[in-house]
Amino acid sequence: MADTIVQVHDVSKSYHRDSIEIPVLQNITLDVPEGEFLALMGPSGSGKTTLLNLIAGIDRPNNGSINVAGTNIVQLGESALAQWRSRHVGFVFQFYNLMPVLTAFENVELPLLLTHLSKKERKEHVETALNVVGLADRIHHYPKQLSGGQEQRVAIARAIVTDPTIIVADEPTGDLDKKSADEILLLMERLNGEFKKTIVMVTHDPRAAERAHKTQHLEKGELIQ
């Protein structure tokens, strides 16, 4: 039995729009074992992206606790949480979110700028990550010179370059054609299978969810077993 790497316990989250409180998540409890490939599914507004954001430490719950890789991230201050994210989380977005003024190499290097690695070491790490995603030949290309699938692969290289504990992916294939989506899912399967990365992925796409080991459904802010 693998250790639990993500423990979400009794977490609720609501947003305020003007004076109206909009509940998004209600009393969510979820455990993710180390090495898991978990898909979170649900209709729009069900709270799956909010749950992903909470696990990734980019949003805070109203109550409950979230323990990731042995750290109760709810208790961390802003600066400590940023440092924690840089060490433990690799984030993959639906729309890639690469810096348009930076090359593939420079985009992947970004998280490493926060480490104490030398320039040479950073170069080695970046080249390794780009090799893993199969883009060693596009190293000096800018995002606008890449296809959507290639951009997403650069984003994945950026997510794995620091060797994070967990990879969170928010609709990673949502903006891609079927062929590119398959390539990305294959890559994620490889990251999970070959590199033992724990992955939590939000998706609308049942075919994408099929690639995960486990699928959890959310509806109206609650997990459905």
Partner: protein, 387 residues
């Protein structure tokens, strides 16, 4: 330094916008430097004043002369080491156009260069000047401007002292440093006085003002008071003050213009600050989503602040440096275009320091609001922004 490349690449994102902002800043700093130099030039006489020289003039107005006989009495005042004198001659060289104007003064040839060691005149030229009654000494800038050489004759048409006056150039002085006026002309007061004795005897025997060298600058108030007290009951009362105060009184006549120039120079800085702030605000607003992504990767609020502020500082420092660099040739050209209007027209170190400091302040102040705003953006809010 790790973020320098990111700052530089962000600056190149909108090359035209960045270039125009830098150019605007360069022009503003150049205009600031030029205006400050004009103001400094106005104060050149004040700045060049010696602390051990006093000026004694008529108490009512500078335009009234003082008797030549005062000289020996002033020399006897305790603390006075030497006395010289001068008379404003004015006159017209060639015509009344400003470019033909330069200060012309009748002086005591024996002592004037002792009192003003900042006018560097070779010994043989000084001796030749002293020997020849109708000779004169001119500044090197005047010599260069009008192509005068030693031995040439300058003809001046008198106005305050009517007649046609001819002077033989026997010396060309060099200024000791950049603060000294190199555009003056000095000739023998005795030459003037002799002509006055013939043509207007009632005007003879007078000088414009006395220049008094004192042993100890700290004695200036006491010596001034002693001199003025000596002539308290005379028909021509004196007003004695430090050379600096004397020069300051001329500058104060133009105080409204100088103050206006100073205000305009600071207004220019204020305007360009707003322009840069607008540019940085626009840039930061366009990149809110990117800053949110950087925060997701682990960048802290401090890092984001550095990125935004660094961009503004980069623009302001480069723009300021270009402005300062171009100030030198523009000031040189301005000085060459008006060589006698501003005899001392140099960029002061204080002007350069102010330009540099303002360049940095502009960048820092312009970036504060957008940098804080970007640094404090919540990741989830930033990610919702349309990129």
């Amino acid at each position: 330094m790790k973020f320098f490349k990111l700052i530089a690449k962000n600056l190149l994102r909108h090359k035209l916008r960045t270039s125009l902002t830098m150019l605007g800043l360069a022009v503003a700093i150049l205009a600031f430097g030029l205006l400050r130099t004009v103001v400094t030039a106005w104060y050149a006489g004040v700045d060049a004043s010696a602390s051990n020289r006093l000026i004694s003039r008529d108490a009512v107005s500078f335009i009234f002369p003082l008797p030549y006989s005062y000289r020996d009495q002033i020399a006897k005042v305790p603390g006075v080491s030497e006395v010289s004198f001068a008379t404003w001659f004015q006159g017209t060289y060639v015509d009344n156009r400003p470019e033909h104007f330069f200060p012309r003064m009748a002086v005591d040839a024996e002592t004037i260069f002792d009192l003003y060691p900042e006018f560097l005149l070779p010994h043989d030229q000084l001796e030749a000047f002293k020997r020849e009654r109708n000779s004169c000494v001119i500044g090197e800038k005047i010599a260069k401007e009008f192509n005068f050489k030693i031995g040439d004759i300058i003809t001046i048409q008198g106005d305050i002292f009517p007649g046609t006056w001819q002077f033989v150039i026997r010396g060309i002085y060099k200024p000791k440093d950049k603060t000294v006026d190199p555009t003056q002309m000095f000739f023998h007061w005795t030459y003037l006085d002799e002509k006055l004795k013939q043509d207007s005897p009632f005007r003879a025997g007078n000088v414009g003002w006395y220049i008094i060298r004192i042993d100890n600058p700290e004695d200036a108030p006491a010596v001034s008071e002693a001199v003025d007290r000596m002539f308290e009951n005379s028909p021509a009362k004196t007003k004695t003050e430090t050379e600096k105060a004397f020069q300051q009184s001329f500058v104060s006549l133009s105080s409204a213009i100088i103050t206006s120039l100073e205000i305009v120079s600071y207004v220019i800085i204020g305007i360009i600050l707003l322009v840069l702030a607008n540019t940085i605000i626009m840039s930061a607003r366009e990149r809110i989503r990117e800053y949110a992504v950087l925060k997701t990767l682990g960048f802290t609020s401090k890092h984001i602040f550095i990125l935004v502020a660094g961009e503004a500082l980069f623009i302001s420092i480069i723009g300021g440096a270009i402005g300062v660099a171009f100030t030198f040739p523009v000031v040189a050209g301005f000085g060459a275009a008006f060589p006698t209007f501003f005899p001392v027209f140099n960029i002061a170190n204080s002007t350069l320091a102010l330009a540099a400091v303002f360049s940095i302040i502009i960048g820092a102040v312009a970036s504060i609001f957008p940098a804080i705003r970007s640094a404090n953006i919540k990741i989830v809010d930033g990610l919702r922004q349309i990129g």
